[in-house]
C-alpha cells in the first residue's frame, strides 16, 4: 500500500483551504496553491527572464553565476586550506530571488562594477598565492623553470584549470594559459608574476565564474528526461553539499563514470556528507529558506530597542547557524527539530535577551543550552534571528510573520492585496488609546474583502505574539495581556511551541521543504512542472526517520536532481 499522493492530498488541501477561506477572489488559483492570472496558463515560456540555458533546444539548464559564498568556498578547493588568503574579498552582493541566492544567481548579469570587483579579487588572490617573496612553488608541487616553459608549469595549470572549470582543459586552452604564463614571465622577469597572471585569468574566466552544466546524451532516463553528465553531477553535488567546487576526488569519480548510476551518486554524496565542509554548509539551505541571513538588514526603532545593533544581529544569526548544524542537520537528527527543538546555543547577549539564568561569561562565545518550557521558545520560531527578521522595525508584524510562515514552510502564497488598499495597517502607535499589536491588526482586518486572506495569514502570526520585534519574550503590551491563541488550519494553537509542534507533524511541511530544496538546488523559480518527482522524494521522509542527510542522499540520486525534463 503506497502512501497517498501528496499532490492530491496536501497540495489539493491547500487549494481548498485557500478557496474555502474565501481568501481568493478575482483571479483563479493555480491547482498547486499558487495564485496566477486566469489567462496565464502558457506564460512560462514567455517569461522574459526565463533562460533557455545550456543545451539549446532540448533542455533548459540555468547558467548559474557562483554566489559569493560559493566563490570563497571554491578558492579553498583550488588553493588548499593552508594558503591563508587573508583577504576580505569585495564582491558585489548576491541577488536573492524567490528566497534563494542560487535562483538569483541564475538570473543576474555581471555589470561593470561587478566585473571590476571580480578582476580585483582575482588579482588579489593570485598575488597572494604567488607572492614573489613566498614559497610559491609549494603550491605547484614542483619547481618550475624560471621561464615557465616546462612540464611543471603546464601540469599545474592543467590541475588548477580542471578544478576551476570542473572539467579538463582542452589542449587549446592549456596552450593559451601556458603562453600567458610564459609571456608574463618574460615581460616581468619574475616567474611568480607569470603564475599570478595565469591564476588571475582562470579566476576571471566565465568557465570558473559560471557553473556550466550539460546533459549526457547517452544517459537519458526512461521517461526521456536528460541526465546530467558526470562532470556536471560532480559540480551539482559538490556545490549543493559542500558549497564549493568539486575537488579532485569528485572529478575523478566523474571521469570513472560513477555518476551514471544511482548507486555511484549516492556513494559520492555520502562521502561528501562526511566532510567538515558539508557540516558547515548544509544548514545554509535553512538559513536562506528562513531569510535569516538578512536579519542585520532590518533596522529596529532605536528608541524602543536600543540594544539591537549589528553585533546583536550577528549573534542572532550565529545562534541559528550553530543550531542548524548541531541540532537540525547533524547526522542522525530529525530535521523536524527545526520546528520543535528545545535546545539552542547562546552567547552572553542572547542569553540576556532570552532572559536565561546563568548566561555565559562575556567572551565565552556560544554555549549549548536547554530552553525551559516557560521560555515559550521552540525551534526556529523561537530564534531571535527569525523573529527579528520577520518583524517591522517597531512592531511584531503578525501579518508579515504569518505570510512568511505560510509561504516558506507550507508553500502557500496568499495573493497580493486587492488594488488601492492601504496595506500598511502596521502603523506603530495610534492615537486611540493603548492596544496590543494583535488588537490593532484585528481592527484593521474587519473589511470582508481583506478578511479572507488575513484569516489565513494572521492567526499563525498571532501565535508568535509573545515575541517582540527583536525576539524578546513578553507577557503583556502596554499593560494589556498578550493573546497568542489562534486557530491554525482548524487547530487551536497557543504560542510558538504549539505552532512548532503542529508544523512538525503536518505532512504539508515535508512536501514544502522538498519543494524548496528542489528550487534551491536547481536554481529554479518554479517547481510545479516537476511536482511529481518532488513528491516521490518527499514521500521517503518518514521512512528515513526524517534525517536530512538521508533525504539528501535520496534526493540527489532522484530524477528531481540528476535529470531535467526536456523543453516541451
Amino acid at each position: 500500500m503506497t502512501r497517498p499522493n501528496i499532490q492530491a492530498t496536501v497540495i489539493g488541501a491547500s487549494l481548498s483551504l485557500l478557496l474555502s477561506s474565501g481568501c481568493y477572489d478575482g483571479r483563479d488559483v493555480d491547482p498547486e496553491g499558487a495564485p496566477q492570472d486566469v489567462a496565464d496558463d502558457g506564460d512560462q515560456d514567455e517569461d522574459p527572464t526565463g533562460d533557455d540555458g545550456v543545451n539549446v533546444g532540448d533542455y533548459d539548464v540555468p547558467l548559474r553565476l557562483l554566489t559569493r559564498s560559493e566563490y570563497r568556498g571554491s578558492l579553498r578547493v583550488l588553493f588548499g586550506d593552508e594558503v591563508d588568503l587573508g583577504l576580505d574579498l569585495d564582491l558585489v552582493p548576491d541577488t536573492v530571488v524567490s528566497g534563494f541566492h542560487s535562483v538569483g544567481a541564475a538570473e543576474v548579469t555581471v555589470g561593470e562594477m561587478a566585473a571590476e570587483k571580480y578582476e580585483a579579487a582575482a588579482w588579489a588572490v593570485a598575488n597572494r598565492v604567488f607572492a614573489a617573496d613566498s614559497d610559491w612553488s609549494a603550491q605547484m608541487g614542483c619547481q618550475p623553470a624560471a621561464t615557465l616553459d616546462d612540464a611543471c608549469t603546464t601540469d599545474y595549470i592543467q590541475k588548477l584549470g580542471r578544478l576551476a572549470f570542473r572539467r579538463p582543459l582542452t589542449s587549446e586552452e592549456l596552450e593559451l594559459w601556458a603562453a600567458i604564463a610564459r609571456d608574463a614571465t618574460a615581460l616581468t622577469d619574475e616567474p611568480a608574476q607569470g603564475m599570478a597572471t595565469v591564476v588571475s585569468g582562470i579566476l576571471q574566466s566565465p568557465f570558473f565564474l559560471y557553473r556550466v552544466e550539460t546533459i549526457d546524451p547517452d544517459n537519458a532516463s526512461e521517461s526521456g528526461r536528460g541526465r546530467f553528465d558526470g562532470a556536471s553531477m560532480a559540480t551539482r553535488l559538490a556545490f549543493l553539499l559542500t558549497g564549493a567546487t568539486p575537488d579532485e576526488a569528485m572529478l575523478d569519480r566523474a571521469a570513472q563514470g560513477e555518476f551514471d548510476t544511482r548507486q555511484g551518486i549516492q556513494d559520492a554524496a555520502r562521502a561528501l556528507l562526511d566532510s567538515d565542509e558539508a557540516s558547515a554548509h548544509l544548514g545554509e539551505f535553512f538559513v536562506e529558506l528562513a531569510s535569516v541571513d538578512s536579519v542585520g538588514n532590518i533596522d529596529k526603532d532605536q528608541e524602543s530597542f536600543p540594544e539591537f545593533d549589528e553585533a546583536l544581529a550577528a549573534s542572532m544569526l550565529e545562534e541559528t547557524r550553530l543550531w542548524l548544524r548541531e541540532r537540525v542537520v547533524a547526522p542522525g537528527t530529525d530535521v523536524r527539530s527545526l520546528f520543535d527543538s528545545n535546545e539552542t546555543f547562546v552567547d552572553t547577549r542572547l542569553a540576556e535577551l532570552y532572559g536565561l539564568a546563568a548566561p555565559p561569561e562575556p567572551g565565552a562565545g556560544f554555549v549549548p543550552v536547554a530552553l525551559p518550557p516557560e521560555s515559550g521558545r521552540a525551534g526556529l520560531l523561537g530564534h531571535a534571528s527569525f523573529l527579528s527578521r520577520h518583524s517591522s522595525p517597531h512592531s511584531s508584524a503578525p501579518t508579515r510573520r504569518g505570510f512568511f510562515l505560510l509561504s516558506a514552510f507550507l508553500c502557500q502564497v496568499p495573493p497580493p492585496p486587492p488594488p488601492d488598499v492601504d496595506t500598511d495597517v502596521d502603523s506603530g502607535e495610534e492615537d486611540e488609546g493603548p492596544m496590543t499589536t494583535r488588537q490593532r491588526f484585528e481592527q484593521h482586518v474587519t473589511d470582508p474583502s481583506c478578511a479572507g486572506c488575513h484569516n489565513l495569514m494572521d492567526p499563525m502570526g498571532y501565535t508568535l505574539e509573545h515575541f517582540d520585534p527583536i525576539g524578546r519574550y513578553r507577557t503583556d503590551e502596554h499593560g494589556l495581556p498578550v493573546d497568542a491563541t489562534a486557530e491554525v488550519f482548524g487547530n487551536t494553537v497557543n504560542g510558538a511551541a504549539e505552532l512548532g509542534a503542529w508544523l512538525r507533524d503536518t505532512p504539508m511541511t515535508d512536501a514544502c521543504m522538498v519543494r524548496n530544496l528542489y528550487r534551491y538546488s536547481n536554481a529554479l523559480k518554479d517547481d510545479l512542472p516537476d511536482i511529481e518527482v518532488i513528491e516521490q522524494v518527499a514521500e521517503q521522509l518518514p521512512g528515513l526517520d526524517y534525517q536530512w542527510r538521508e533525504l539528501l542522499v535520496d534526493f540527489v540520486a532522484s530524477e528531481a536532481f540528476r535529470s531535467i525534463a526536456p523543453v516541451p
Binding site: 495564485p35 579579487a121 616581468t188 538588514n297 522595525p393
Partner: protein, 463 residues
C-alpha cells in the same frame, strides 16, 4: 571631438599617488574651449550630462510644493527646498502630475513607473509586481524595462570611459523588495548596476587603476605599463573563453554572458595605454578619501566626486541612489531613530519625523547642486550643462499617493531648460516629463511608457 578628450587615468593616478591632487575643483575642459567658452575650440559643443537623484518613501507634499508658481521671482521656495536658494536659477519644479493608467499599489509599482515608465511584464496593471507563485516577500520586483538613465547612457554614454556611473548613500534596509530597491540603473530584468556607496572605493573606481591593491611587478609602487599589459592579456583570454562558452548557450544566457563581456571590454578600454591622449592640465584629482562613517560627510564627499567625474568628462550619465524604494533606514543624524518607511505610515508625530528626514535628503541634493554650480565648465558651470531628474516612488507616502509627484529637476542641460520655474502640470503624466528629459538629452525617442504611454512633450519647462 570627445575622443580627443579621453582622460588618461594613468595621469590621474600619478597625481593621486604623488599627493599633488589636492581638492582643486578645477574644470578639465575650459582650456580646450573657444574664446566664448561655449564650445570646444575644435568646434564641438560642451558635453551635456544627465543624472538621477533618487530617494525612497516619497514626500510630504505640503512641505515640498511652493505656494506660488511661475518663473523667476514669481515663485518662492518651499520649506523643504530652502537649501536650494543659491541655485534656484537652475531649479525646475513640476507639480501636479498624475499616474493616470491603472491602479497604483505601492512602492514597487511607483519605482517602476517613475524610472522605467512602468513594467511591460505587468502591462495590464492588474496584478501585483510580487505576484510570482513562489515569492516569499516581494523579491520578484525588478525593472523589466530599462531605466531612464540607461536609455540616456545608450544614447550619449559611449564616448566616455564610464558609460554611466552609479553612486549611492544608504544601503537598503527593510523587506526584500527585489532589485528595484537595490539600484536605480537597470538594463532589463535582474540586469542592474548597483551603486558604489563607499567614497574611497568610488575614488578608486574613478581615479585609481590598480585592481584590488595587487602589488605591481617590479620595484616601484606606481603601476607600470607592464601591469596594464598583464591585465589586458588576461582580459583578452577571458573574452576568448567567453566565446567558447557562448557556443553552448541558449539565447537568454548568451545575452547574460554578452553583458558580462561588455563589462570586461569596458574595463579593458579604461586600462591606460601608451597611445592615450594626455589629459588636460586642469583635471585635478582630489585627495583620496579615507574611511568615512558620518553620513553627511559621506554624502558631501560623493557629491564632489560626482562633480569631478563630470568635469573630467569621465562620464555623462550618473545616478545617485540616496535610499531605495520603501527604505527602512533610521536617521540619527537628524535625531530620527525610527525607520523612515515606518514613520511615513505612523501618527502625526511620526509624519513630522519623516518630513525631517525628507528635508535632510533635500539638503544633500542641494549640496550636490551647489558643488556643481561651483564647478566651472566653459564660460559657465556644470549646472549649465547638466540635468538632474530628482524623483521618488510615491508622493504623499502615508497612503502611497500617486498624484503630485515631487519632480525636482536641476540644471539647464546646455540651455535647453529655462530653470527657475515652478510649473504646475495638473493632469499631466510623469512619463511626459521623462520623455521630455530624454529628448533634451538627445535620445531619439518619440513615445515612452508602458503605463501612461505618451508622445507629449512638456514644452513649458523648456527654454
Amino acid at each position: 571631438m570627445l575622443d580627443q578628450l579621453k582622460i588618461s587615468r594613468r595621469f590621474a593616478l600619478r597625481g593621486a599617488l604623488s599627493g599633488v591632487g589636492v581638492s582643486l575643483w578645477l574644470p578639465v575642459l575650459d582650456v580646450m574651449c573657444n574664446d566664448h567658452g561655449t564650445a570646444f575650440a575644435q568646434g564641438g559643443e560642451l558635453p551635456t550630462s544627465f543624472g538621477v537623484f533618487y530617494w525612497g518613501n516619497g514626500i510630504h507634499h505640503n512641505y515640498w510644493v511652493p505656494d506660488t508658481m511661475g518663473s523667476g521671482d514669481a515663485w518662492q521656495l518651499s520649506s523643504h527646498l530652502e537649501a536650494f536658494a543659491e541655485v534656484k536659477d537652475y531649479l525646475t519644479l513640476v507639480s501636479g502630475t498624475q499616474m493616470l493608467d491603472g491602479v497604483f499599489k505601492g512602492h514597487g509599482w511607483g519605482v517602476c513607473y517613475v524610472l522605467a515608465g512602468g513594467d511591460s511584464h505587468h502591462a495590464d496593471v492588474t496584478s501585483d509586481i510580487d505576484s510570482h507563485p513562489v515569492s516569499f516577500e516581494t523579491d520578484e520586483s525588478t525593472q523589466f524595462d530599462p531605466t531612464v538613465d540607461q536609455i540616456v547612457a545608450d544614447a550619449i554614454g559611449g564616448d566616455t570611459p564610464f558609460a554611466s556611473l552609479e553612486t549611492g548613500i544608504l544601503p537598503y534596509k527593510g523587506l526584500n523588495m527585489g532589485t528595484v530597491s537595490l539600484a536605480i540603473a537597470h538594463r532589463g530584468p535582474y540586469d542592474y548596476l548597483p551603486p558604489e556607496r563607499d567614497p574611497a572605493k568610488l575614488f578608486d573606481r574613478l581615479f585609481g587603476n590598480i585592481p584590488g591593491g595587487s602589488p605591481p611587478p617590479g620595484d616601484g609602487p606606481t603601476p607600470s605599463d607592464i601591469t596594464h599589459q598583464l591585465r589586458r592579456s588576461v582580459l583578452d583570454a577571458v573574452l576568448e573563453d567567453a566565446k567558447r562558452l557562448d557556443q553552448k548557450l541558449g539565447a537568454a544566457d548568451s545575452m547574460r554572458l554578452e553583458r558580462h563581456m561588455e563589462s570586461i571590454r569596458a574595463i579593458e578600454q579604461r586600462i591606460p595605454s601608451p597611445g592615450d591622449n594626455p589629459p588636460p592640465a586642469s583635471c585635478q584629482v582630489p585627495a583620496e578619501p579615507g574611511t568615512i562613517e558620518e553620513i553627511t560627510e559621506q554624502s558631501q564627499t560623493i557629491n564632489r566626486l560626482i562633480a569631478t567625474a563630470l568635469s573630467c568628462n569621465l562620464t555623462r550619465v550618473y545616478s545617485h541612489l540616496w535610499s531605495g524604494a520603501r527604505d527602512d533606514n533610521t536617521y540619527p543624524v537628524v535625531g530620527v531613530n525610527a525607520d523612515h518607511h515606518g514613520q511615513t505610515h505612523g501618527n502625526n508625530a511620526a509624519q513630522e519625523q519623516a518630513a525631517t528626514i525628507e528635508k535632510y535628503i533635500f539638503d544633500q541634493y542641494a549640496d550636490l547642486a551647489t558643488v556643481m554650480r561651483d564647478t566651472p565648465m566653459g564660460a559657465g558651470n556644470l549646472l549649465d550643462q547638466t540635468l538632474i531628474y530628482g524623483i521618488t516612488e510615491v508622493s504623499n507616502p502615508k497612503n502611497h499617493v500617486h498624484v503630485d509627484y515631487p519632480i525636482t529637476l536641476m540644471g539647464r542641460a546646455g540651455g535647453m531648460l529655462r530653470g527657475n520655474l515652478h510649473h504646475q502640470a495638473q493632469g499631466q503624466k510623469v512619463t511626459e516629463v521623462v520623455l521630455t528629459l530624454m529628448q533634451v538629452m538627445g535620445v531619439e525617442i518619440d513615445n515612452w511608457g508602458t503605463w501612461d504611454n505618451t508622445s507629449s512633450i512638456m514644452s513649458e519647462i523648456l527654454a
